[in-house]
Amino acid sequence: MTDRPTTAFADVTEAEIRAAFDAEDYVAEDDIVTTVLLALRLGKPLLVEGEPGAGKTELAKVLAARFGSELVRLQCYEGLTAEHALYEWNYAKQLLAVQSGGSPVDRADGGSPTTDADADPRDPSVFTEEYLLERPLLRALRADADRPPVLLVDEIDRADDEFEALLLEVLSDFQVSVPELGTVRAERPPVVVVTSNRTRALSDALKRRCLYLHVSPPSFEKETAILERKVPELDGLVASELAAMAARLREEPLRKPPGAAETIDWARAVAALRDGGGDGAVGTADAGSAADADGPGTDGELAPETVRNTLGCLLKEVEDVERVDDRLLEELLAAAERARSEA
């Protein structure tokens, strides 16, 4: 068995991880901090599960922003193959090279046909670096920066078993063989974050290789803190009102309960409206810090019309929007009022 490369984060501290989350306005509970610390220190992939919008992908982005050289993202989907995940050859370019009747080294621009030090520069082969299309997994393995990249394998549950097996092979030793080029091995193993929405069970082999983190829907307090950080232009009292209404809505049997990402979108929409209509643009949850607003919004209570008119930012299924009738709207406003009075 091959020796695994050593992790680049053997000395990372809890304080550094907390500072990274704070700097990126990611509200992380202690269990998230501890688990991320373990993943970095032990050099193990992190399997993050949770409802959509809980902040799984954002977690990888925070790590990339603070600890990694770059974020290499592999979005999984049904039918994802090794060619799309690892590497493939640029067949069109190869075909042109062959049709031109000369070797790549004879090109008019005189460019070097390969960057492979072991290759013969006169080698007319069209299976060289020049024709290689690097896909996310290979890119993460070949990163030559001082700090390893963060490899985000997003929504692994959308991919099929065959791709999971391929991923296991890569994660086992952080190396892969390209027949024409040889074995590519990561000098510094990437920080790996695998996310799943639990739409299907993952293989035991994958689970065995990962540390496990479940990101639960945020509590009222946590969601209030998230809104205060992510939407600073919104008054704190209004943030707590929105968080209370989102929490109340999650108690309903919705087709798609709102995640923290939807609540942030909703808060931005409300903030835009309360700032005088503005352009009404609603930022995405994945944006970093919100843009500076002209000033804090008013601290008046939310009007029922504002709530109803902006529910589309929070609820993404028509059945869920229709569920919010007058009675439920009153309950939402009552929850908001309680939150305001207790704040």
Partner: protein, 458 residues
């Protein structure tokens, strides 16, 4: 470290592994962690096979000073499913209480100690090498504390002292085979690291491969653009036809259940057995290895040691007992209860056993039925089947026969080679097994033709 009510900074709690807990305390921590893992499995939680080791390493990072950190670390290392959180939280309370109570001498891992948790090394040697000048005088306990915690967790499926696995004395006296034996060191005459198995094992892998690898072979699943490109060279770059290809099946997913009772070890060389298991781990990737006699214990990590010699040492360190009695049905029942995920519809199950069952045959049939339903194929490797006169008349073997896809001789590299040959030609479930072994038929023919056979003279 201090008690949870006043835990230290997380990074002062043992990340550098400079010091060591006193032996008794470290042992107490190991025992309680193993007990906790077992309790989780009994409660139905899906705990991966290597989880205890991962959790142990996690504790060396976060230390024991803060209860919530310990809870988070163990949850990240031991679980892989949100549904198990409730059982975890319930059992964690008991784990923490027992941990805080300390071993019998009253010392607790949660008390202030001069040092921290020993690092989880991959071998005892490595753990020993991790000591540095900061170590205090260990006296006689140094060797013990330098023993890798990983090895302790490799033995996580062995019974704790409270579990009495002794066989019945009457059974012991009555059994001519598989007497309940005492633990014995792993050793064998087969040269460790021998290359005799290389070709045979490669053949076996090719014969069994049923999991798609990344390599392509002839077929019609995908267009073979590369070949089209190459053939187009002769036509001046014009693609005249589109050859196709499909992925070769190159990988094997296996579960190896090895009977290490006395009767088996009398018939098969232990060195060969270890070498076979190591090659299976190296060549087949995702598979697990269990030893069984009167109980079942996983030895996958021990088999994975860097060298064959270290593997045998690790098996010793993992307290892999050799030479006990045989209760195949009970052992399979334990597999079903504790590690059902070890076998799925893609798994080839190897049972290395002589089939001399001391337990309940009806139970053996029940468990084999379950195993066969879950597995892709079930192959039985019997060291007694190397004899030309062998017939599977032992009650355990006879009961197992309807469930197996092939019963093969298994005592050395030649047997592996013959098994691979048969499987390649006939496939599992075809006309394969000891009865189709040409060496057996040749021996039988020579026996019948010999003068000694045709005369009744003494």
């Amino acid at each position: 470290m201090t008690r949870p009510d006043g835990g230290p900074d997380i990074d002062a709690a043992g990340a550098d592994g400079n010091g060591r807990l006193e032996d008794a305390v470290a042992d107490h921590l190991r025992v309680e962690l193993v007990r906790f893992v077992r309790a989780l499995r009994r409660a139905g939680a899906s705990v991966p096979a290597n989880a205890a080791t991962t959790a142990g390493r996690s504790l060396t990072v976060v230390g024991l000073g803060d209860r919530d950190r310990v809870r988070s670390a163990l949850r990240a290392g031991l679980l892989a499913d949100r549904a198990d959180f409730e059982a975890f939280d319930r059992l964690f309370e008991e784990f923490w209480r027992r941990l805080a109570a300390g071993p019998d001498d009253g010392a607790s891992p949660l008390d202030d100690v001069d040092g921290a948790l020993a690092p989880f090394a991959d071998s005892a040697d490595e753990a020993g090498e991790s000591d540095d000048a900061a170590d205090g005088d260990d006296g006689g306990g140094a060797d013990d504390s330098a023993r890798s915690l990983t090895e302790s967790f490799a033995a996580a499926v062995t019974d704790e002292s409270s579990d009495d696995g002794d066989g019945d004395e009457n059974e012991e006296a009555a059994a001519r085979y598989s007497p309940a034996g005492a633990a014995e060191a792993v050793a064998g005459g087969f040269p460790l690291g021998s290359t005799d198995l290389d070709d045979a094992f490669a053949d076996l892998t090719r014969a069994l491969a049923d999991v798609q690898g990344r390599r392509f072979g002839p077929g019609d699943d995908h267009p073979n653009v590369r070949r089209a490109l190459r053939t187009s060279v002769a036509a001046g770059g014009a693609v005249l036809s589109m050859p196709r290809r499909e992925r070769r099946r190159t990988a094997v997913r296996a579960l190896l259940l090895v009977d290490v009772s006395r009767s088996v070890l009398d018939a098969v060389d232990r060195g060969f057995l270890v070498e076979f298991l190591r090659r299976a781990r190296a060549a087949w990737g995702d598979n697990r290895v269990f030893f069984f006699d009167e109980d079942l214990r996983e030895v996958t990590d021990a088999v994975d040691a860097p060298t064959a010699a270290e593997a045998t040492d690790a098996l010793d360190a993992a307290e892999a007992r050799w030479g006990g009695g045989t209760r195949i049905g009970d052992s399979l029942s334990r597999l079903r209860e504790t590690a059902p995920e070890a076998v799925d519809r893609n798994t080839v199950v190897f049972v290395v056993s002589d089939g001399l069952e001391m337990g309940d045959v009806a139970g053996l049939e029940r468990e084999l039925s379950w195993l066969r339903r879950r597995a892709d194929r079930l192959l039985w490797l019997n060291p007694l089947a190397t004899a030309a006169a062998y017939e599977p008349t032992a009650r355990g073997m006879a009961a197992a026969l309807p469930f197996v896809d092939g019963l093969f001789a298994f005592a050395g590299p030649d047997d592996v080679r013959e098994m691979a040959r048969q499987l390649r030609r006939q496939g599992a479930g075809g006309r394969v097994g000891y009865e189709f072994d040409p060496r057996r038929t040749e021996t039988q023919r020579r026996t019948t033709e010999s003068p000694a056979h045709t005369t009744n003279d003494p």
